[in-house]
Symmetry: D2
Subunit: 348 residues, 4 copies
């Protein structure tokens, strides 16, 4: 249950309510909402307590929970949350583009990709350094060195970076390298150990939806992050598993308007992993923007055929530029600007 | 296998090829393509025949089949097909809006809805008269009388009409009422008896995707229609069945760019049945247009709570107007105009 | 709502209740249950009527509906239903085996298969004459001639026959050929036109589950058959569509114990179409019997490689014999006998 | 590629082959198969190397890989693997029953359950101490204390224990408590960090199938365990996520015969989590045994309504006894005995 007090309610009065709830064994979470006190009662609220809260003179409105999440519920904030990733906002009026290769494959290639991404108008540079290989015999990524190369490339292009973390034991490598946003992959959406670890790292987290996760399970995972202290949480839709075999997965854009009602978190769409076919990525990116996405994340590579992983779905530089330009026009059509590049970059 | 001849190839030369194929037991279909002869070989082509066709001096290109369909394959036409529904084009540069109630509930209400749809800018009026009720005890629709009421309402508003046909035995009622487009519902996508019957009716057909139909199965069903003579075929995506329970179905917009590559048929998206929640329908309609839909089909009702079926997902008149206006802006952003209302309507 | 009266309740008293319900606009269905009167109220029952029925002196128990079905609900009968297919019971203490080729491919082959099936211990001969081809260019089956060949082969082996009907227009061919059980295929589970037609034919019907049909939708389709007069209805589980691609479909054996609670209809399992791999069919047949199936339906062919359709999943004669023998042993382990072959057959 | 040498091939000859492969950059794994040397080449094998191996005089047969797994492939062993869990075999001629509560809820209850399980004929005691709660506010289990209580209860009943591990950081608690088998839950099937950690613990591992994992992905995860040194690996099917909502998940018993062909690992079925309804568990257990399961894992509780988690699906003591007795009979019908209780237990 989420309890929004009237504007100007004194902190002492809020604390009185908190203590009363505690006497009933009910734990609360406090919104950082500046304009009015908002509390979430994380435990199940008995009817008599709910009635009392609803009738309370200082309470403006009470929302009964949709699921087991509270801190990420739409009602926990007055306005949608804007997450700052190294100076780039996710969730404001603008649309943010994340671009980069599947894997960091060395200093030169990632710097080349960073330059391509920057020129195309992307805001954040992505690249995998620790890769979730399903085969124990596959190449496992460049690890900490890859993160440093990604960071250097991002710095060179004036772009913050995002990279997937698979193991809490690697967290210090991400912190040391100055990674601006930690990505939790689809396979790890319910890896609660990892969620707790990244939640405490003081770095924004982008949480991908599990391949067969319901929207409710996804928000519960986000709540995990929030409950363990994550400062900024971004959701990322990347396709779900269905019976269809013509595409890798089925992109579920319905989550965009639905999550707008259910949560205050920003939402990014990754059409590259969902579709797995380059020609589908630009129209799906446009569709994502039109349906309300706060950002799109796409894979690009200067020479996809040379890419060591997932090259088949990477966009060429020119395709990325076109995608960004088109998304910008569709964004304008639905009242969204493009997020400014807030960190000084090289002139192109 | 689809065989496109060079422009200007003489008909006699094409017939020579056809006869040669027939001697090998291979049946062909002829495209109505005006600019060049195109043949589809509907049977599986032996390698030696394929090699001969590829090397033929009059043949410009040969496409190996993606599936069992031929006539609806993209390669069977030089340009995407435009289907004319009572003067309204589906598949041209414009985007077409189909709107109306789930069911025709009587003369006055359908006329009121037609007026609402027309004022909002919709092009085609929809409404169910024969309803696919899963319960034998449910109301079964108004039948032929409902079709006549729908037609009268469409005529009054200057809009052609579309309505679902469930049974070949009802075909004469649809023909007599002057229904402009026959809708095949999701449950009947593989009802081959019905497909054959409507294919021969000389009326355009809108074929909804089955709830768990693969894209290949959907095109095979469209091929059925084409093989049995359907003049105009429109595909309609309306959501697939997945594990997600927060929405009625999962709208699959990836089909839009994929089908552009696979077929020349126009594609409409029905977000109302997919989502089942009115607030999701406008953003999903915008996304459909951005991803390349040739049209959207939505349910509307002047007083949804009074609707006898599916009222919960119907848009209010003002919501429909906003949806059309927004889709128009997104359409412009992706280079699509709005299909003109070609039949004279009342001034509003 | 289903209302079971005490044993010995006079018919006049039941009729009084029926008339009272009718005055409230509530339609009823009457169970053929001999031991006590049982009524189903097919419409939604207002609370006050439900209270009155529950408190009625002649009423033993009242069951609130699980779904929209009534006549096929478990509560509509005191005992599970036994369906007689040409003298072979489905649903009694015994387990019934249906065997035969995918398609009837001519007189000699079907007679050979019938002999194989009979010797193996199968009870009913299956074979397709009108085939649901997804491609309009595929062979469409032997039609009425195939049905006559199937019947002759069944008669020769002393076995009743079952064959799939796809089109109400073919019904007279099935009746004329003396088909003992009409099969509704998965694609036609919600082809309500076809359901109505076969319901009135006076021949038992085996209703396959749709590829993505929920259990509730399946029972609703069965209710359709029941409401339109079908005398004997058998359910057939044949696998559902999931993300798994290693098998054709995913056989759902959970339906067996669940349907035992929900319906009084007999249930057959078809592992051939679900798995599509011969080696999986015997263990899945054993599992089906262990989970409570009333029968199994399998494909067999003396020379699978020569079969014109689905040969890859057909069992060899020896494999069929082993399957039946094993199913018999597992049946005994769960307290099920094997249904006797009730019609005089040739000695083998 | 898997290479089986003739019996009696000298070790030196095998090593020569290994070194030759290494010169081509091909890594190998060696089967512990006593009767003949078997090698798996874990990397992709070039055609010329494959040809050479197939023609090699000492090589009896060569198997081309079905997927990315090698060590768990059926061809890597002559006979199916038997995993020893604290003296109880999984995978031999017998069938093994795992029973216990969802969560360890204290010393007295778990000892009571252990006694119930032992009397019913179960072989292994299960119970969760670290629980994978999807809500951060839910009770998180008793942790190390719970493991000690579980072990004490198992010792008292003469039963080895199995418990789910969610976090590599907890591994020492499992080792210290003497847990006999580590369970990897469905959500962690692709938590490769955890897989590596448990693989090195020297304790058998039971790997549950992910909720939407394909069979290939499941075996790849098992290969991960094997590649990182796991001694004994048991697979556990626990239902997959489908569109069906009448049951918690859809139990996929087709995996049993399919995995028999694909892998040498033993396979256990958990119908409790798949179905979520107690009445379905005994028939599904019988079906699992009939389809070839090496064991079943079920939840039981002396007073399900008092259980703090998942009580609704727990079997009563009497139901468990009946289940074991019935599974024994079905096992006998398919040629399986019941695994003896090999550790001395109290007389009952």
């Amino acid at each position: 249950m989420i309890v929004a007090f009237h504007r100007g309610t004194a902190e002492a009065d809020v604390q009185t309510v908190v203590r009363t709830l505690e006497t009933r064994g009910l734990r609360t979470a406090r919104s950082s909402e500046p304009r009015r006190p908002i509390l979430a009662v994380v435990d199940s609220v008995p009817d008599d307590v709910a009635d009392t809260l609803e009738a309370h003179a200082l309470v403006e409105r009470v929302e009964r929970p949709r699921g087991t999440w509270r801190r990420v519920d739409r009602a926990f904030r007055d306005s949608p949350t804007v997450v700052d990733v190294g100076g780039v906002p996710f969730g404001g009026p603008g649309i943010t583009v994340i671009a980069g290769p599947c894997s960091v494959e060395g200093k030169e290639v990632i710097e080349e990709v960073a330059d391509v991404a920057r020129r195309a108008g992307a805001h954040v540079l992505r690249g995998g350094a620790f890769k979730p290989r399903t085969s124990p015999y596959a190449v496992q990524g460049r690890g900490a060195e890859g993160l440093r190369q990604l960071k250097a490339a991002g710095d060179g292009a004036g772009m913050p970076i995002i990279s997937e973390i698979m193991d809490a034991a690697h967290l210090s490598a991400f912190v040391d390298a100055g990674v601006d946003c930690l990505q939790i992959g689809a396979r790890n959406m319910q890896n609660f150990t990892l969620l707790k670890a990244v939640a405490g790292a003081g770095i924004p987290v982008m949480l991908k939806r599990g391949l067969s996760a319901t929207i409710a399970e996804w928000l519960q995972a986000a709540e995990y992050l929030a409950a363990f202290g994550a400062e900024g949480i971004i959701l990322c839709e990347r396709g779900i598993r269905t019976f269809e075999t013509a595409t890798r997965n089925t992109l579920d854009l319905t989550v965009l308007p639905l999550l707008r009602q259910w949560t205050h978190l920003p939402i990014v769409v990754d059409p590259s992993h969902a579709a797995g076919i380059p020609a589908l990525i630009p129209p799906l990116s446009r569709a994502a923007v039109a349906a309300g996405a706060d950002g799109v994340a796409v894979e690009c590579h200067p020479r996809p055929k040379e890419a060591k992983s997932d090259g088949a779905q990477a966009l060429l530089p020119g395709e990325l530029s076109t995608l960004v330009a088109e998304a910008r026009v569709v964004g304008a059509a639905v009242g969204r600007s493009f997020a400014p590049r807030e960190r000084g970059a090289h002139a192109s």
